[in-house]
């Protein structure tokens, strides 16, 4: 690995902590980002010659802070900048100082930085874009590609989001336990949103969107390192890892969706699955179930099944039942119905989802599941109608193509003349 790759990885990994600490110091997002950028430029000059500092984040915080103070001084008194060697020669004693200053607040700093991005005034897409720009350090171009919008439009979206945040009141005091728990829940939801944004990738943009899923996993691991004993953060991280593990198997060569039961399980990433299963085990030990843990436990049952027919659907049905009680939602019931159809048959499942129709009639997956159940029951005309509706509701070409496959099969199987 070349020096530059190493430095790049170090800067990326230090970014959340460094920007978070600089934000607490300057209490202004733009100032914090600018100071971090400055520090990175100096790192690129200094680290190849002087070697990497022992604590990269502390170095960046210290240098970023000094650079900002220098530039303020320069603007007010036209003083020359200090010589580059002075900054580059920051020794370990100073790093230790920076660490003492920031180590105690590290956890709340990073949480605050993430929490700022999920301000309730911001629509979900802006929250995600902001977090990816500020916390993950993705370029506007990378984010724009993931959202399939132009760079200028994305730039504008991020600028607007930042302005809103600047106007909002953000507490810089150390949060109390209740506030901390609230922030953590909001941040966890945002990380899951980022993941889903990447996970629902249409075929063509797999790379750009896959990047979002990678970032979400990284942020979840970061949260878990900060909150090592939170079972729901273990659950969230496990859920993302277990779903992410399947990404190579989720689309075929043409970019069409491959359903879980049709996926080539040898393409699943078993290292990610091992990590996810380990985290589910750790979370269960706490006996404080929550929605992320239950969803992770469901994903774990899929991951543990060597073949689709080995899936423990009865257990999945039970887990969805628990999820329905903890976090009731028609989508959860819809997912449960799929498990019910495996355990008690398609009629029971159809009976379960039909009451959802008024609320889910505009939802692609509802029509897809309904069509599938009707098909199993031999009610082909009704199935065809549901599939037609699903195609009309599809969000991506891949989704539509997948339903069309069902329809084609239906046409073929119900054709009057058989060879």
């Amino acid at each position: 690995m070349t020096d530059l790759t190493w430095i790049d990885a170090t800067l990326t990994s230090a970014r959340p902590q460094a920007v978070a600490a600089l934000l607490r110091y300057f209490r202004d997002l733009d100032a914090a980002e600018e100071a971090f950028q400055d520090a990175c430029l100096r790192a690129l000059k200094s680290w190849p010659q002087n070697g990497p500092p022992r604590d990269a984040a502390a170095w960046l915080i210290m240098v970023g802070r000094n650079a900002a103070i220098d530039s303020a001084r320069r603007q007010s008194r036209h003083q020359p900048l200090p010589a580059e060697e002075l900054i580059s020669d920051l020794n370990d004693a100073e790093s230790d100082l920076a660490e003492r200053l920031d180590g105690a607040h590290y956890r709340d700093d990073v949480l605050r930085l993430l929490f700022i991005c999920c301000h309730p005034d911001l629509p979900a897409t802006q929250q995600i874009a902001l977090a990816l720009r500020i916390v993950s350090g993705l370029t506007v171009r990378q984010i724009a590609r993931a959202f399939l919008v132009g760079e200028a439009a994305m730039e504008q979206r991020i600028t607007r989001a930042k302005r809103r945040i600047a106007e909002a009141d953000v507490a810089f005091e150390t949060p109390g336990p209740v506030e901390r728990a609230e922030r953590l829940a909001a941040v966890a939801a945002m990380v899951y949103l980022i993941f889903n944004e990447g996970y629902s990738a249409p075929g063509g943009e797999v790379d750009a969107r896959g990047r979002l899923s990678d970032e979400a996993v990284r942020l979840a691991r970061l949260l878990l390192r900060l909150f090592q004993t939170e079972p729901e953060i273990m659950g969230l991280t496990a859920l993302l890892l277990l779903q992410h593990a399947r990404s190579a198997a989720r689309f075929d060569a043409e970019g069409a969706v491959v359903l879980l039961e049709d996926q080539d399980r040898s393409l699943w990433n078993h290292k990610l699955i091992a990590e996810g299963l380990a985290l589910v085990d750790k979370a269960l030990r706490h006996r404080r179930p929550g929605p992320y843990q239950i969803q992770a436990a469901i994903a774990a049952l899929h991951a543990r099944a060597a073949r689709p027919q080995d899936t423990d659907w009865a257990q999945i049905d039970l887990l969805y039942g628990t999820l329905e009680r903890l976090a009731p939602s028609p989508v959860v019931t819809l997912n449960r119905a799929v498990a019910v159809s495996k355990v008690r048959g398609p009629a029971a499942a159809l009976e379960m989802i039909e009451p959802l129709e008024p609320r889910l009639s505009g939802y692609f997956h509802y029509m897809g599941v309904k069509g599938g159940l009707l098909l199993q029951l031999g009610r082909t005309e009704e199935a065809r109608a549901a599939f037609d509706q699903a195609i009309a509701l599809a969000n991506t070409a891949a989704e539509a193509a997948h339903i069309r496959l069902h329809l084609d099969r239906l046409m073929r199987d119900t054709a009057p003349a058989r060879a």
Partner: protein, 126 residues
Amino acid sequence: MLYAILCYHSEDVVGAWTKAEDDACMARLGAVHEKLAREGKLGPVARLLPTTAATTLRKDQDPPLVIDGPFAETKEQLLGFYVLDVAGLDEALEAARDLGRANPGGAYEIRPIALFSPGTAGAAPP
């Protein structure tokens, strides 16, 4: 003489590698492993899951306390280890240098082994 090579690296940095970078590093290490295996020096090799997957049992009290997370919060974390059968420290260091060229950054702790039992457990599940 058996030596353990304990691999320490910043988990944040390793975690920031892209899959391509990680794969490239593993491929470079694989070449070194092959050489060591040919020379009959390579014992068990392990890469550990992230410290977030770790659980610690503190047994300095009764009953022992189960804690989420790694034993020690350090800047660099124990991410894996090797067992090598080499003539002495010089050879262990030479192997560590080869591994270090394939996987720069972090540190290797080279530690002589007092008791080694290869055990009966099979390879870790895939």
